[in-house]
Amino acid sequence: MKRTLLLSFMMLAVFLAGCEPLLVLDPKGPQAARQASDTWLLIVLMSGIVIIVLVLLIYMLVKFRASKQPEDYEPPHIEGSPVVEGIFIGIPIIIVTFLSFVSVKSNYIVENTPEGYVDQEPLVIYASSSNWKWHFSYPEENIETVNYLYIPTDRALEFKLYSYGPITSFWIPQLGGQKYAMADMVTTLHLAADMPGEYMGRNANFSGKGFAENTFQVTAMSQTQFDEWVQEVHETAEPLTEETFEQLLEPGHLGRMTFTGTHLGFNPPPEHDHGAETVHDEHADHAAEQH
């Protein structure tokens, strides 16, 4: 079993070091970078703990196994010692305290506009899920897409998440961690992309039959390209009507779709907001004004 463990750790190391980097450890945005560095810190620290326990265990098993002791050896009665117990209470407390500081700091980082983008106006995108699709509304650009997401690089992104149906979870691993989209409130996720590219996005929370295929493609591009794309959509795409949107909400899978206009006007997001009411209202108003 020890061999298996060692083998597994070696395998882990090989996988982490070699071939394709794992998505979570291959960040393309500041939030994901923070989470990846936290993950590395944790992997190293936690491996250390596992190794210490393993070494102690092997030492005990090798040193004190019955076959090595004389036949008449009687193990002593040992009560707990405050010093020894103090040490192995104290060291975990130090580790946990250290990690608590890291955790709190990371929380405030991932829950706010990404570092370095604070003075910019973020791009607001409403991402709503329905069985088993994602609808992305760009209120400022006044366009809406289904199952694909175009984003400009080097700009803060503020996702407003909600769901027409079961709880889903909006997740683009290479840009940052996930957050739930729910039916009766709006949640906010702050992301940003540092470099152009194609990224995998999906619903990570089980939502029924079509869950496995509930994915979307994210394309990050420069702001100029993004503006061109917006322009192109306005020239070519059909407007989104209330009837069309109702049809889109029917359970099922759809390919990529593009519309001008958004559903925010005739089918507004839930009123209830977790925490940031003012922010959300402001954008809702903003969205309404567009119509």
């Binding site: 882990l12 936690m46 004190f64 707990g80 990690l99 991932v110 869950f211 925490g275």
Partner: protein, 649 residues
């Protein structure tokens, strides 16, 4: 016909038809077999009506093993489906049903009865009691659990299984998105067995508080009893939350109320909160008795007293308190904001400290010991590093910001299997082997047992370690398929091979039981393991009255004291012993609860009302009944003791 259509399975498949046939055939075989061997009377007198804690424990054990195989079959199907990309072994609906039932069966109907089995068998013996405080309530608890388990299992062939995940998050589990009766089964089966669990908790707390042998103070209890006691206190405070949450779900689904709906003021997150306020303590309900078994096993086979008894108890108390203040970590991603997440992140990580204390205490128990590698000890030794891996990945998940990347992925799946399998399942198998002679009077074969251990451990590592990697690579949990381009294929195949090895391990374990029944020598004696605590101070198997004379205790290792330090355990003459009478009422109540639950699932209100009246009639009957129990005469006790090779001194 319309009436019967509701009982049809909405998504039939060859597998379901095959299991229907199998269930019918097995039932017929059992009935015919019992009739042929004229065992109905024996079954009724000795098992169905029993109130003996040891027999109830054995029934829990058998049920748990059966459920282990049911849940295990689900697991194998899941791993087989995911073994290669775009596999078509199962469709989405079946996969969803299977992972839902796998979760529920393993937690509620396998792990819970497994720990109840050992609580029932061992706790009264460890405290020197004749039975639990309320023997008949104990039987009712068992039959309620059993009724719930059976109800849940027939969902597969009657009406359709639940398919909204074992967490049954709303609105997915609401009538809008889960129209079949599957989720009704979930609500009602768990409700029924949950009531049983709650009553077991009350029963055990009363037993441990008020029926300990003279001299056994609370801090001189053997570690398994102590851990069971704390675990039962968690049951007492956690299960009522589940009861209420399930009532609200049931009314939402059957009476169209608006607790968890998306309209009319309903709040879907409330279910998630209530579920995890029960759900998180629940995992400690499972793990604490497992820790207790490891403590017994490690100390026995290191031939050393348990290191740091006080810090062991203290750490369990702290774990039990903290367990109620961490539930939000199951949904850090729900958007509570940085402050709430930070608080729950810290409380969650804090649990690592008392858990770490326990790991180090076990390691130091081996220090200067004389370690014998028996099967129970192998499981305990395997548990320490594997559970540490599970524990430290738990710390990773507790880092809320980073958890945004691990949540809902295979990383999480790997983590909780990494704690529950080495933590609970290994402990149960260790306990099974360790207490087997106590229950049946013969040993399980050590050589075959060791094969089982190695297959299980290697299979476990192969099955679950790859999931950490695919999780970090973006494989979400509960996906029934994935495309080849994701690159998850090879590692999932590895998982499947590991799961196969685990299945072989469980077959070896069952083979070992059968082999040992046939070949193991019966005169195992009273002391097969050179053990230390009080439960070993009586005969194997244990006579129905447990101890001919009440033991007197001076430490947590009373039996060791008696062997090595000349402590006098049993004083005075053998007297007549008061025992409770058997009763058929608990079994009948179990059946009525089953009928009531089944009718509830299908909203058949007339049988619901009739069976509810039946339940109250049973309770009324009990209220009016005069039952003072019976006495086993001193002569009879002496005769039994003589048969076992003389009374214990």
């Amino acid at each position: 016909m319309e009436f019967f259509e509701r009982f049809a399975v909405p998504h039939p498949s060859p597998a379901i038809y095959a299991s229907m046939v199998a269930i019918v055939l097995v039932s017929i075989a059992i009935v015919v077999g019992i009739t042929y061997f004229k065992k109905w009377g024996y079954l009724w007198r000795e098992w169905l009506t029993t109130v003996d804690h040891k027999k109830i424990g054995i029934m829990y054990l058998i049920s748990a093993l059966l459920m282990l195989f049911r849940g295990g079959a689900d697991a194998i199907m899941m791993r087989a489906q995911l073994a290669k990309p775009e596999n078509t072994l199962l469709d989405a609906q079946h996969y969803n049903e299977i992972f839902t039932t796998h979760g529920v069966v393993m937690i509620i109907f396998m792990a819970m009865p497994f720990i109840f089995a050992f609580m029932n068998i061992v706790v009264p013996l460890q405290i020197g009691a004749r039975d639990v405080a309320f023997p008949r309530l104990n039987a009712i608890s068992f039959w309620l659990f059993f009724a719930g388990a059976m109800l849940f299992n027939i969902s597969f062939v009657v009406g359709g299984s639940p398919d909204a995940g074992w967490t049954s998050y709303f609105p997915l589990a609401g009538t809008d998105f889960s129209q079949s009766v599957g989720t009704n089964y979930y609500m009602i089966a768990i409700q029924i067995s949950g009531i049983g669990s709650l009553m077991t908790g009350i029963n055990m707390i009363t037993t441990i508080l008020n029926m300990r042998a003279p001299g056994m103070t609370l801090m001189k209890m053997p570690m398994f009893t102590c851990s069971s006691f704390i675990s039962c206190i968690i049951i007492l405070f956690a299960f009522p939350v589940l009861t209420i949450a399930l009532i609200m779900c049931t009314t939402d689904r059957l009476f169209a109320t608006n607790f968890f709906t998306s309209t009319d003021g309903g709040m879907d997150m409330l279910w998630a909160n209530l579920f995890w306020i029960w759900g998180h303590p629940e995992v400690y309900i499972l793990i604490l008795p497992a820790f207790g078994i490891y403590s017994e096993v490690i100390s026995t086979f290191s031939q050393r007293n348990l290191y740091g008894y006080k810090s062991m108890v203290g750490s369990m108390v702290i774990i039990s308190l903290l367990s109620f203040f961490v539930w939000t970590h199951h949904f850090f991603t729900m958007g509570q904001g940085a402050l709430t997440n930070s608080i729950f992140s810290i409380t969650t990580m804090a649990i690592a400290v008392p858990t770490g204390v326990k790991i180090f205490n076990w390691l130091l128990t081996m220090y200067k010991g004389k370690i014998r590698f028996t099967v129970p000890m192998l499981y305990a030794v395997g548990f320490i590093p594997l559970f540490t891996v599970g524990g430290v990945t738990g710390v990773m998940l507790a880092m809320s910001a980073a958890d945004y990347q691990y949540h809902n992925t295979m990383f999480l799946v790997a983590h909780f299997h990494n704690t529950i399998i080495p933590g609970v399942v290994f402990a149960m198998l260790a306990g099974l082997t360790y207490y087997w002679p106590k229950m049946f009077g013969f040993m399980l074969n050590e050589r075959i047992g060791k094969w089982g251990f190695w297959f299980l451990t290697i299979g476990f590592c192969l099955a679950f370690f790859p999931m950490y990697i695919t999780g970090l690579d973006g494989q979400a949990r509960r996906m029934y398929t994935y495309s080849e381009s994701t690159g998850f294929g090879p590692l999932n195949m590895l998982s499947f091979i590991g799961a196969g090895l685990m299945a072989i391990a469980f077959i070896i374990i069952v083979y070992n039981v059968l082999y040992s029944i046939k070949n193991s020598p019966r005169n195992v004696g009273d002391e097969p393991w050179n053990a230390r605590s009080l439960e070993w101070a009586t005969h194997n198997p244990v006579p129905e009255y447990n101890f001919a004379r009440t033991p007197h205790v001076a430490s947590s290792e009373a039996f060791w004291d008696a062997k090595k330090k000349g402590h006098e355990l049993f004083k005075g003459e053998i007297e007549k012993i008061h025992m409770p009478n058997n009763s058929g009422v608990p079994f009948i109540m179990g059946i009525i609860f089953f009928i009531c639950g089944f009718s509830f699932v299908f909203a058949l209100w007339i049988p619901v009302v009739v069976s509810l009246i039946g339940i109250f009639a049973c309770m009324t009957l009990r209220s009016f009944e005069k039952d003072d129990g019976r006495y086993i005469s001193a002569d009879e006790v002496k005769a039994t003791e003589a048969k076992f090779g003389g009374a214990k001194s």
